[in-house]
Symmetry: C2
Subunit: 353 residues, 2 copies
């Protein structure tokens, strides 16, 4: 079972996390060229743009890289909930002299219903394909495996890990509650034990025989060593790469990451419609006033969130961005991705001797 | 700074967590005799009973052990809030043919106002004294240090760790969000970043020069190795010891720990008045219906919680106990404490080679 992972031939047991909107082909290629596994995120793009990202990455590296897809249950439009949500957000838009959108739409298509994306992936056959928010259908899994793709899927619980194994996926990405960005839970309406990485890895390894890549709160070689001791085959790190020059993070996001907001990350579903961990900002503060209100389904709520961010930004206010980050955010370092991979590898060696 | 910890001469870098109501002199002595550091918890007893627990432990071991105190801000009685809380709980009492108590009181005295306890500790001078829920006053710290006690205090955040260092405490117990039982935050009303252990250790070590003992979600030698890699000097484990024969856990608690409730622990302040992580049971289910209601201050709410548990138990219903446990609960093993320490030491050796 470990062979598929070993066949990647990574010099450093490290995956740069896919981060839709922040990771780039340049970042993924730099990481892969440095001996780890880079990732690009196709969750927010269509098949054509996804193809271009794969081609752009291949133009920069001959090494394997990971292509990430969002496999959420397609959103159920609910006009009343959306109207209520927009009415609640309207005063925020008004602060910036803007009106709330008249209606909202699911701005991203789930991979589970995107046949063009599947066809593109079968054609381009990336070395690694990963899924977040659930599992694709059996046809997609079978088609990608036949093309030699190594398949990864995120689990936030032992139950999700079992489902991943039963579906024939090759590797589990165990995502602890510490992790930045979207929590990969299959069903955001189900109870969440909110497992920290320390317990999650051990609980998953007890129940499945698949290799596990560990994600959440890992920022340095000591954290990498820790998850390897816990039985993971590699560490996945996202927040650590946000401030690399190759990332697409804007200046406001980088400034927030370097400032006091990094010490207080917040898990909220108000920005996108699904729980995600972000740097404390004006949007997370707003989210804490939502009470029992429920946002529209992901990614319908994200349509409103992005509109609010755009309206604020047009007034020079940057506090409504989706500034995703994990709990280790204050430990992020600003350096080229290749240098960061080299530093991490050296730190790992120093700990493991 | 590490010397005080090293002087304990532990053969195994392991602390058995103090667990008021569950840990016992027999458990602490067995752990200390096996080469780790056992702990007794005096948070729920007065000075005389505390003295007896120290003497009982000393009768069973010549090795150092840890004596734990609760240093919460003394409860502020609030008759209206207490009346409202009892009114809310009344239907639960009624299920068991019982009435809710007519009034509530702070059932435990905080160490910060317990001069008899301080005098007893100064006299008996335990090798290690630890504090949970905040810091004792400077007089107490100074008096205990003069008697040669090694002092520990719990931190759930880098800010608390800094306060611990500034107060002259010797060692920080870094408690991740995964941990069972009471969360040691100094101020339960302040925002809580809910840091997982993976990030917490690294964030604390960046800001203080004190040694760190790591607590939360650690259940085996792999977890111990992980926290040592993260820079801790030892792992503190509580849930792992609940099902030892030397613990005071009752049959219902042990059965719950071995059953499906272990996979879904819940952090709630409804049982005691302070956030604590427990196995999912009838009390945690009730807590999830409390909405914006706030329980009385710790430990006033605990008076009600214990009365409800007693009323239910009298009817043969055990689901209202304070069945504290951490996120690694399903990994608990039922074996004598000395055997568990030996197994953990062997697992640690196997991981670290």
């Amino acid at each position: 079972m470990m062979d598929g992972f070993k066949a990647l031939g990574l010099a450093v047991p490290l995956v740069q996390a896919p981060m839709a909107g922040t990771s780039t082909p340049a970042l993924a290629a730099a990481v892969s060229n440095a001996g780890a596994l880079g990732s690009i995120a196709l969750g927010a793009v269509d098949a054509q743009a996804g193809r271009e990202m794969i081609e752009a990455t291949r133009a920069l590296t001959d090494r394997p890289f990971n292509v990430n897809l969002f496999t959420h249950r397609p959103a159920c439009p609910d006009p009343q909930r959306e109207t209520d949500w927009l009415a609640w957000l309207a005063p925020e838009f008004a602060r910036f002299g803007a009106g709330a959108p008249a209606s909202l739409r699911p701005i991203y298509r789930s991979f589970v219903e995107d046949e063009a994306m599947l066809a593109m992936l079968v054609e381009t056959a990336p070395a690694v394909v990963s899924f977040h928010f659930g599992l694709p259908g059996a046809v997609a899994i079978s088609a990608l495996k036949q093309r030699g793709c190594l398949l990864l899927a995120t689990a936030t619980s032992p139950a999700e890990a079992r489902a991943i194994e039963q579906a024939g996926i090759d590797i589990i990405v165990a995502q602890g509650i510490e992790a930045g960005g979207h929590r990969g839970m299959f069903d955001p309406g189900a109870p969440d034990a909110a497992l920290g990485l320390m317990a999650l890895i051990r609980l998953i390894l007890r129940e499945t025989s698949l290799p596990v890549i560990a994600a959440g709160g890992i920022m340095d070689g000591a954290g990498m060593a820790a998850v390897l001791d816990l039985g993971a085959v590699a560490a996945q790190m996202g927040t650590a790469f946000i401030d690399c020059p190759e990332s697409a993070a804007d200046a406001a996001y980088r400034a927030a990451l370097r400032g006091p907001a990094a010490t207080q990350t917040i898990m909220t579903d108000a920005i996108s419609g699904r729980p995600a961990r972000a740097l404390a900002n004006r949007f997370t503060a707003l989210a804490q006033t939502m009470g029992a209100r429920r946002p529209p389904d992901y990614p319908i709520a994200y349509d409103a969130g992005k509109a609010l961010h755009a309206a604020a930004k047009a007034s020079g206010v940057h506090g409504y961005g989706a500034q995703w980050a994990g709990q280790g955010a204050p430990l992020a370092r600003a350096m080229p991705a290749a240098d960061l991979v080299a530093v991490l590898a050296e730190e790992l060696r120093a700990v493991r001797g």
